[in-house]
Each structure stands twice: as C-alpha cells, then as structure tokens.
C-alpha cells in the first residue's frame, strides 16, 4: 500500500517524498524538512492521525500545511472528525491512484 502510494506520487515531478514509519517519526521530520503536504492514516501505533493533525493545526509553523487523511470506510466517523479538525481532504481506502494525484495537485 505504502510503496504503491509512493510510486504513484513519484509520477508527479518534481516531488520529494519523506516517509515516516509512525506518528513519532512524523513529529521528528516536521521541524527538519520543508514539508509542503502531509498524507496520513488515522490508525497508527503511537499517536493517531487526528492527534498529528491537531498538532499541525495548533502549531503556527505548520498551521497552513495541507493535510490529506487516508483511512478505511470503517473509520468514517474518524474521517469526519478529521475534517472538523481542519483536514483538507480525505480518501477512503481502497482508492484509485489518479484520485490521489488529483488531490495532491489541487492542494500544492
């Protein structure tokens, strides 16, 4: 899933993808890399996607970063919550790759 997404996004030149294995890694990456857009799942081992989103939205440095939530149909309630926390878009798994590209292009 992850590698498929990476391969899909890489077709959009020029982009650079920084992958985080979990939420903590994402928190470490944010101050170090010039991130333009975040793609996140909701269910993650350490902090969940909503918590990451809340952190981003409450931090003046990243406040304006576009965030796309990717999760399963079962987490519909969570996706709604994500949107009210300020996520820009959501994608329900499984999705068509072109749909993801379209969203990224629109938000960047």
């Amino acid at each position: 899933m992850r590698s498929l997404m990476v391969a899909t996004i890489e077709t959009l030149q020029p982009v650079r993808i920084v992958q985080a294995a979990n939420g903590f890694e994402a928190l470490r990456i944010l101050p170090r890399e010039a991130i333009d857009l975040i793609l996140t799942d909701i269910n993650m081992p350490d902090i969940n996607g909503l918590e990451l989103l809340s952190f981003v939205r409450n931090n003046p440095l990243y406040q304006k970063l576009p965030v796309i939530i990717i999760s399963t149909e079962g987490s519909r309630k969570d996706i709604d919550r994500g949107l009210s926390l300020g996520a820009n878009e959501y994608l329900v798994k499984p999705f068509i790759p072109s749909k993801l590209l379209e969203l990224i292009q629109r938000l960047l």
Partner: protein, 708 residues
C-alpha cells in the same frame, strides 16, 4: 483450475500459505489468551487490537494474492472484531465461540487453498458470514455529548478516534478516574523518553490518548498531553511521576455521566500490561541450568507494546523465510563436500605411503585447511536449521487451553527451556507425537477438578513441559501430576487384547512398555481428544523416525513422566564404522556408549541369552550378524562389543572390528525398506562404498519386543 482458485504460481501460493499460517498461528494463541481473560471477567484491549490487526493483515495478504474466499472470511471476522473493540458487541461466550470458529474456518480454508478444494467449503463460508451478520446488530451507544461534561480539555477530546473514545467510556464504566498528564521532552529524544513514560503509565492504568502539542520552547522541545484512565489517586500518580512530568490533573468521574453509562459492570482493575498469568513462568528453576541472562524466548504472546510496534508499516524483523527443502539440499551438498574432502585426505595418505612425500605433505595440508573451512560451513548451515523449541511450546499451550476448555479440566501448562535449540525438521516431526503425549496427559492423566479435590490435590492440574540439551541430544519431558498409569490395568488390557499371554512374565516397567504396542488403548471411554485411533505405537514410531526414543515413568496417584530423547540434528552425524561378517555398518556415535574387546571367557548365559558383566551390571549381548541374519563362514577369535544405549536401556552389540569414526550423511532407504527395524538408512563412505546405518533405538526396541 476452477473459478474459485486464482491462477497463482506455486511459489506465490507457498509464500501466501507461509505468511497466512504465521498470522493465523498468532491469532489463534491470542484468541485463547483472550478467551481465558474473558472468563476471568476482564480482558486486555491491546490483545483484542492485536487480534484485530491479525485478521486485517490476513485479509490484506489474501486479497493481494487473489484468494477471495480467505479474504472474505477474514474480512467478516475483522468486522466482528472491530465491533468488539468498539464495544458495540460484548465479548460473551457465543461471540468467543464464533471467533474460534472463524479462526478454525480460516485454517481449513488455507488447507483447502493448498489442496485446491476450496469450492467444497462454500456453504461453510456462507454460514459463517450469516453467523457474523447475526452478531452485528446495531445497539444503542452512549450519546457523544456526554463526554463534554467531564471537563477534559477540548483539544484532547477533539482528537480522539472513535476507538479511543470508546476506551475512554469503558474506563469510566470501570470506575477509573481520568488524568491528563502534561509532559515536555527534548525534540531529539522524545520518542525514547515518551516510550519509557508510557511503559510506566501502562502498569498503572490504560493510556487512552497521546496528544502532541507545542511547548514553551517549540524550537527545542515538544510537549505531550497524555490521557490516562487509572484506579490510582491523583496523589499516588503525582508521587509516582514526580520529576518526570510537568503536571498531573485528575478529572473525577461525575455522577451524571456515570449514570448515563448503562449496563455498567464493575470490573476489577485489570493490569493491562501483564501477560496471561501462569502460562509462562519467568523461572526455569527446575529445568537444566540455563544461562541466567537468557530471558524466556519469544514464546509469550506479543505484549501490548510489541504488538503496537508490529503495526508499524516497516517490518522490524530482519529475517528471511526459507523453505526447509533448500536447507536440506544445502546440507546434503555440505555433506558431499565433507566426504570429498575425506577422500582427498585418503589420497594424500596413500601418496605418502607410495613415496611421493613432499607433494603428499602439501596435499594433506591443503586438505586440512579445506576440512577446517568445511567445518565452519557445516556448523553455519547447521545453525540456520536450528530453531528454539519454544515454537513448539506456543502450539502446545494453545492445544492445552483448547482441550481443557473442552473437557472442563483445570490445567496449568508450565514451560521450561524454551530456548533449547533443535533441528527444524525434528521440531516439525516431533510436534504431532508431543501433542499426542500432552493430550494423553490431560485426557487420561489429570483428574477432573472435583476428583482432584476429593484426593486432596490442588484442583488445578499441572503439566510440565521442559527441554534441555544433554550432550548431542535434546531431552523433552512431559510430566503431569495426574493419577499416573495403572500398570495392573495395562496388564489386564493387554491380556484382553491378546497382546500378552502371561501377565506375571513382565516387570512393572516392562508392562508399562505395552502401551506402545499397536492396537493398545487404556481409555475406558474413547474421547474426542485422544481416542483418535492414533495410539502410542504411532507416537513411538514417529519419534523413532527422527532417531529419537521415548520412555515412560509413572507414580501411582502422583503422575507420569514421558521423556523424549532426540538427536540435535539428523543432517550430518558422526558415526562409528564397524565391520561384521565381511560387511561395514555405521553406528551413530550419539548412541554409542563405549566399546571394548570381547573375551569369550567373559560370556555367560542367562536364560539361554548371552550376557557379560560390565562394571557389576549385566549387559545383554546381541550378535550383529545374527540380528541381521547374515551368513558367516568363520568367527574371528577377537571380537568387539559396542555398548549402545537409548534412553535408559543398554545393549552390547557384538561386531568383528571397529574401523574408526567418520562424518556421514544418512540417506533414507525409501518406502520399501521403511519397515525394517534396526536400520535407519544408508550412507556413502566417500570411497564409492555405500553402507547401512544402524539405528540403535530400533535395535533395542526390537530386542525388547522379541524378548531377545
């Protein structure tokens, strides 16, 4: 190929089966843990999550390989698990049964996928789906607004997932107090420090959410607000966390909210981080002494933290799964190389004898170097084949819990020496016999709880499974504290079945051996568990097939002990090469106790059988030529006795000469000769000579059977 069977290559199918099996094995043991906990009234939500993720992964793998039937069942099971973790369905017995049924069905479907008989199971799949749908009926949930009145920070409440919200309510329902713990960490080390802190917190309650926030020094620090549900008081937590966190704030449960939590069941505080009790005791006091620094190996079900880590997309283990066939092939090649090397050494020796001394010395030096490297290669390959017996333990503990549940017996399985290593092939082959012995121990050995109480025993029976290495052997013991084996009953049964003519002719110990006879079963009542038509004879044969031996000891009213002795590996063994009546034979060195020159004057006869007295012990003799019924022209004046032993039994094998030690690779003889007792295979000596390999265990068993 039928429609239900996707066009998958054999290799892909094997990959799928290996991975799916691994997942299901994990799910199976977690499920039994969960059922055990549910019986006790409370369970670890992390365990449920781990099972949920297992079903989810299985669905993913099956979907990826195109096995829709497996994916569908996994998907339905995942749905049920999701409802469980969300509290929409409660973990009652019917639901637990349904989960077990799901996991069994998945195992069946995997087999069917391998055999190509998937379509035979369509009805079961449909019935399973219907059963799950019936379980998933919408129930009223607590109105989401009720949490607002708790006074928790809005930022925390707003970032809770549906699952976390459910856990929060569950914590309130269990009468726990909520705490918001504010912490701040250096950006460069926060994950480690936060990890330590959460480990500590998990020992005192349930960590519901972890919200990162910007601290006062957002350049260097990152803050977290942790939401914890705990039975501890604010005071206690503050003391516990003193110096480690910025603040601890308690949010006492409010009566109005408590009232709105319908169907409140007060539950004892659950230790969310503890492993299931009693199954994996941390001590190995009674087993063979083990290095103290070695913790018990990965037999225990993944702890909450480990399960969480596994959810990360990046695989944490750096392992390669290899088909055992490939290792066998490699081992065979190594074996051939060892033989080739020894013929080079032999050539060097011959050259020296014929006068080419300088070249002979160089050649034997080169051969020595080759021998060392080959030795390294051999032990390297051997090492790959070795796996801890702990892998077996996991299976066994699951079986034990299943049987005890089915039979209403109370049994603790105690495991020792799980890190003992054994050849993978032997571990595979020993699984069924071991399972059978354990089943028997519970089925026939351990008494029902009421009876145990009446006897003044602890109502919980104990089965000890311990493994340790002893020289070139691994010993596995299964010991129960049940009723023991009734030798009188064994005699009676054997008499009735015509297996024995005169009950008085056998000592108790010999009579006990009767249970290994084909067609013997002492069960008065054939149960589903052990009465499967597989007798102890099959157990003994299966163990003998990997050059192992099994022994029983029993103490009336106190229990029995089965001791299985196995060689560490079957691949390459050191053998003693002997000759008898003009032919050579190999005897695995592991079964040779000692050898001595036989002086005819020492031979005496007892009941017409030849014996010698060796250090005050009478040793029965067996002339190898007679055992193998080989004709011989003359008997040499000097002969040797090779004392062979298997378990506690000793036998003196009379041979003509001892030719030396050699590494050999045992090759099976094929099905035609499988039935021949006393011969385990053939081996190539490296000089174009092929010789038979004697099986000491088989010879001794044959002698016991025929009474010499």
């Amino acid at each position: 190929m039928s429609a239900a069977q996707p066009p998958t290559s054999d290799a892909a199918l094997r990959d799928f089966l290996a991975e799916a099996e691994e997942i299901l094995e994990g799910v199976g043991s977690q499920l039994t843990d969960l059922a055990d906990m549910a019986e006790g009234g409370s369970w670890d939500p992390d365990l449920l999550n781990a099972i949920f993720r297992g079903a989810h992964s299985l669905k993913g793998v099956a979907g990826m390989f195109g096995f829709t039937a497996v994916a569908e069942v996994a998907h339905n099971t995942e749905n049920l698990l999701d409802w469980l973790r969300m509290g929409k369905v409660s973990l009652a017995q019917p639901v637990i049964d349904l989960l077990f049924r799901s996991s069994k069905l998945l195992v069946v479907l995997l087999r069917a996928t391998a055999d190509g008989t998937l379509e035979q199971h369509q009805d079961e799949i449909a019935a399973h789906a219907a059963a799950i749908t019936a379980c998933l009926s919408p129930s009223d949930s607590v109105s989401p607004g009720s949490l607002d009145r708790l006074g928790l920070p809005a930022a925390i409440l707003g970032a809770l997932t549906e699952y976390e919200e459910h856990r929060l309510q569950e914590n309130l329902r269990q009468g726990r107090q909520l705490f918001v713990i504010h912490t701040t960490f250096d950006l460069s080390t926060f994950d480690q420090e936060l990890g330590n802190l959460t480990d500590l917190l998990k020992a005192h309650g349930e960590l519901i959410s972890t919200l990162p926030s910007i601290g006062e020094n957002s350049q260097t620090n990152i803050d977290f607000e942790l939401l914890l549900g705990s039975q501890r008081s604010e005071q206690e937590l503050a003391t516990l966390l003193k110096g480690r966190v910025v603040s601890v704030a308690g949010f006492p449960p409010q009566p109005a909210i408590m009232a709105s939590m319908a169907a409140a069941v007060p539950v004892e505080e659950q230790q969310v981080t503890t492993a299931p009790a009693g199954v994996f005791p941390p001590t190995v006091a009674d087993a063979e002494p083990l290095p103290a620094d070695k913790a018990l190996p990965p037999v225990s079900p993944p702890s909450a933290a480990a399960a969480e880590e596994k959810a990360s997309a990046k695989s944490l283990s750096r392992t390669v799964r290899v088909d055992i066939g490939k290792l066998d092939l490699l081992m065979n090649i190594v074996g051939e190389l060892v033989l080739a090397q020894s013929s080079i050494s032999a050539i060097a020796d011959r050259m020296r004898a014929e006068g080419f001394s300088r070249m002979a010395v160089d050649l034997s030096k080169a051969a020595k170097g080759l021998e060392r490297r080959l030795g390294d290669l051999q032990s390297g390959v051997m090492d790959i084949r070795m796996i801890p017996v702990g892998q077996l333990y996991e299976k066994m503990s699951r079986i034990v819990r299943n049987i005890t549940r089915e039979q209403g017996k109370k049994v603790d399985l105690k495991l020792f020496g799980a890190e003992t290593e054994l050849d993978k092939l032997i571990v595979e082959d020993i699984a069924d016999p071991l399972m059978h012995i354990i089943r028997n121990a519970i089925d026939h050995g351990i008494e029902p709880p009421e009876r145990r109480q009446a006897l003044g025993k602890d109502e919980r029976g104990t089965v000890r499974l311990s493994s340790y290495q002893k020289g070139n052997h691994v010993v596995i013991e299964v010991e129960d504290d049940g009723g023991g084996i009734d030798v009188a009953k064994v005699r009676q049964k054997a008499l009735a079945k015509g297996l024995l003519l005169d009950p008085a002719a056998l000592t108790d110990r010999e009579a006990l051996e009767l249970i290994f006879m084909p067609g013997f079963s002492t069960a008065d009542q054939i149960t589903d568990v052990s009465g499967r038509g597989v007798g102890m004879d099959v157990v003994r044969n299966n163990i003998a097939a990997v050059s192992g031996m099994v022994d029983i000891e029993t103490w009336p009213g106190k229990g029995s002990r089965f001791t299985i002795i196995l060689p560490i590996t079957l691949a390459i063994i050191k053998a003693l090469i002997v000759s008898c009546a003009g032919r050579c034979y190999a005897l695995p060195i592991t079964s040779v106790v000692e050898s001595l020159l036989l002086s005819p004057a020492d031979i005496r006869t007892v009941e017409n059988k030849e014996v010698i007295t060796l250090r005050d012990v009478t040793l029965p003799l067996l002339r190898l030529d007679r055992f193998l019924t080989v004709e011989r022209v003359d008997t040499p004046i000097e002969q040797y006795v090779v004392v062979i032993g298997a378990a506690e039994k000793r036998l003196g094998l009379v041979v003509d000469d001892l030719l030396g030690q050699q590494d050999i690779v045992i090759k099976p003889l094929g099905d035609v000769f499988r039935a021949i007792r006393g011969i385990s295979g053939a081996a190539d000596l490296g000089d174009q000579r092929t010789i038979l390999v004697l099986d000491a265990g088989g010879i001794i068993a044959e002698m016991t059977r025929t009474g010499g």
